[in-house]
């Protein structure tokens, strides 16, 4: 079992012919993802790793019944490509690119909401369900294992570190969701918590958060109210000074909003165990599952 994507998800790759698109299409296929097509108007008719390239998403959907898309187009083209996917009937949209202008992301989110489309990202490493052998994203294939832990993370590499530690400790994952590091994102902690809470296969939830914004505080409120499964968290940015943007657009302490302390306090009050170091996560999960 998994959330959002599973072995039946029919995936297309928008921007399949670029170097990133080609490389990760290969990786996703190797992981077992059911990639039914790619899109590039100019290269329609070609193939990438045996996957047919279509001119438009409409054509791809029409000919393959695709219902999910993972995007590798350059940032200035993301809005048009995202609207295209939604207009063509795609229901799960994973936006890998970073540097998408925020106002355009807002437009994408409004359009997606009107059409009932789940968006992951932008600026995300994607989503992976190891037991279902499906991934839509750029995460390394070898660090995940099937198992009972759901992970939702704001950052990529840090979540890889944690997933790797969990897998090495024998704790595999149902699904790992990359929220994305931008200020405006589709699926957030609350959305992911809701899904994992409802997923029978997920027994514990790991949140990988960071400074900036109030996502973690809202997650804490939601956990207090609704989540009956153990939640464990690691938060990055404890040592970051205020007013400095730590890479991600969202990772910045503005005034006294978005501090490490406020997040730890909120999560702890909601019964979440917060790890001081990334590799403490497996033990905390194991304890929680006892």
């Amino acid at each position: 079992m998994a959330v959002i994507i599973d072995r039946n998800t029919r995936v297309i790759v928008q921007g399949i012919t670029g170097s990133q698109g080609q490389f990760h299409t290969g990786q996703m296929l190797a992981f077992g993802t059911n990639i039914v097509g790619g899109v590039n108007f100019r290269k329609a008719g070609q193939e990438v790793h045996g996957v047919p390239v279509f001119a438009t998403v409409h054509e791809a959907v029409e000919k393959t019944g695709a219902n999910a898309s993972v995007m590798f187009v350059p940032a200035p083209g993301v809005k048009d490509a995202a609207f295209e996917a939604i207009h063509a009937g795609i229901k799960v949209l994973v936006l890998i690119p970073e540097h998408v202008p925020t106002q355009e992301t807002m437009e994408i989110m409004a359009y997606a909401e009107r059409h009932g489309v789940r968006v992951i990202g932008p600026n995300t490493f994607g989503i992976i369900s190891p037991g279902e052998k499906v991934k839509m994203g750029i995460m390394p294939n070898h660090i995940y294992k099937p198992g009972p832990v759901g992970i939702v993370a704001r950052s990529g590499t840090l979540s890889y570190e944690i997933a790797y530690n969990l897998s090495n400790s024998g704790l595999g994952q149902t699904t790992v969701i990359g929220m994305g590091g931008d200020r405006v994102i589709g699926t957030n902690f609350v959305d992911a918590l809701e899904l994992f809470n409802a997923d029978p296969a997920t027994e514990a939830i790991v949140m990988v958060g960071e400074i900036g914004g109030i996502q973690e505080e809202l997650a804490a409120e939601y956990i207090k109210e609704h989540v009956r499964k153990p939640v464990v968290a690691y938060l990055a940015g404890k040592s970051a000074p205020p007013g400095k943007r730590m890479g991600h657009a969202g990772a910045i302490i503005e005034g006294n909003r978005g501090t490490y302390e406020s997040k730890v306090e909120a999560l702890t009050a909601a019964g979440v165990k917060v790890a001081a170091l990334p590799w403490e996560i497996p033990d905390l999960v194991r304890d929680a599952l006892k």
Binding site: A110, T157, L158, E161, E210, A236, G237, P241
Partner: protein, 373 residues
């Protein structure tokens, strides 16, 4: 990227938002000339730091000669690290009341957020929440006059002033959208001319960096230290901190986690550096070289290879070592994509790499400060 006040006001005026119609000048002569047209005026340093007034960057003048004298004082002055090379000559206005209005990006609501208040002229953070009107804009629809009118009503404007406010806010929103702003702010929105006219007396206009490619018309203003500018020019996220262990990691979260881990073990990180996902040998080498140039007590490289290939990072380090030598202690941790090959390349160059992040971090702290520090 922040725009200078004069540019912000230019954007306002372009969208029907009245300003003082000030004149931007680069010499005292121009200022004298401008003051002759404008009358009693304020000479305002064009720098992107707060508290200009208190620091002596804004001065009043009643005559053209006085204006010239004030300009001579301000132009060329060092204001919190920035040399003033432009001033804005604005008319002195008699303000009856100060309002506030701004539009920002609300990440949680995923919508533009308008804030307005009848208590302007001070930083909005210091205004009580119940004195501020908060209104989200449906980005698919845009800001329509009715919503601006409703906000006008809520901050107590009536009649002709409400109409003026509506025009101002609708214009401001158009500017916000057209120029991909992350913040537009009029503060104070001043009530002048015996309470008959609203004008933007001061303003801020921040264009989102990720949308700058669409706006070559704005002069580029880069903030940050020289080192920050240098590393960012390579295309990497970099923040200078006040410690002494230089850090390179891949991914923003990993970089933050690395700093926290160093701090946990008693280290003082010198910087945040996200060496990126999938960068090639060259930028990595340049970034590494820049870190080396800061003469830290140690360098800690922490790589969890996903898209980042460990072998390429290793090559970059070795390239710098061969070209210039590495004369500070270097601790590398490397796991993930091509990590075996990466560690081999390092070993060939005499650099031992760790696989465990905690052990590596402890080693870096020891390398910097000595054992038991």
């Amino acid at each position: 990227m922040k725009l200078y006040e004069y540019l912000a006001k230019q954007m306002f005026a372009e969208h029907g938002v009245p300003t003082g119609n000030g004149i931007v000048c680069t010499t005292p002569e121009e200022v004298e000339e401008a003051a002759r047209k404008i009358g009693p005026c304020a000479v305002k340093a064009q720098v992107l730091v707060g508290g200009r007034g208190k620091a002596g960057g804004i001065k009043l003048a009643d005559t053209p000669e006085e204006a010239r004298a004030r300009a001579e004082e301000i132009l060329g002055m060092n204001l919190k690290g920035y040399i003033v090379d432009k001033v804005l000559v604005d008319p002195q206005i008699k303000i009856e009341k100060e309002y506030y209005v701004s539009i920002t990006l609300d990440g949680m609501a995923k919508k533009p957020l308008i804030m307005a208040s009848a208590y302007g002229g001070v930083e909005i953070e210091s205004v009580p929440h119940d004195k501020i009107v908060f209104e989200h804009v449906d980005i698919a629809t845009g800001l329509m006059p009715f919503q601006a009118r409703e906000i006008a009503r809520k901050i107590g404007l009536t009649g002709d002033l409400a109409d003026q406010f509506t025009k101002i806010l609708v214009g401001l929103y158009r500017a916000f959208r057209k120029y991909d702003a992350e913040l537009v702010e009029i503060n104070p929105l001043a009530l002048t001319d015996n309470g008959t006219r609203l004008i933007a007396a001061d303003g801020r206009f921040n264009v989102e960096d990720d949308a700058l490619f669409r706006h070559p018309e704005f002069p580029r203003v880069e903030e940050g230290t020289e080192l920050e500018k240098k590393v960012r020019a390579i295309g990497l996220a970099f923040v200078q901190l006040d410690g002494d262990i230089a850090v390179m990691a891949n991914g923003a979260g990993m970089a933050m986690g690395t700093l926290d881990t160093l701090a946990y073990y008693g280290g003082r990180p010198a910087n945040f550096l996200d060496a990126g996902g999938g960068s090639g040998v060259e930028p990595t080498a340049q970034a590494f070289d820049a870190l080396l140039g800061t003469r830290p007590k140690a360098i800690f490289v922490n790589i969890f290879g996903g898209i980042t290939r460990c072998d390429l990072v290793a090559e970059a380090i070795v390239q710098v070592k061969k070209a210039k030598g590495i004369d500070v202690p270097l601790v590398v941790r490397m796991v993930g994509t091509n990590d075996v090959r990466g560690r081999e390349i390092l070993a060939e160059a005499g650099i031992q790499a760790y696989t465990d992040m905690g052990e590596a971090a402890k080693a870096a702290v020891e390398a910097a400060y000595g054992k038991g520090a």
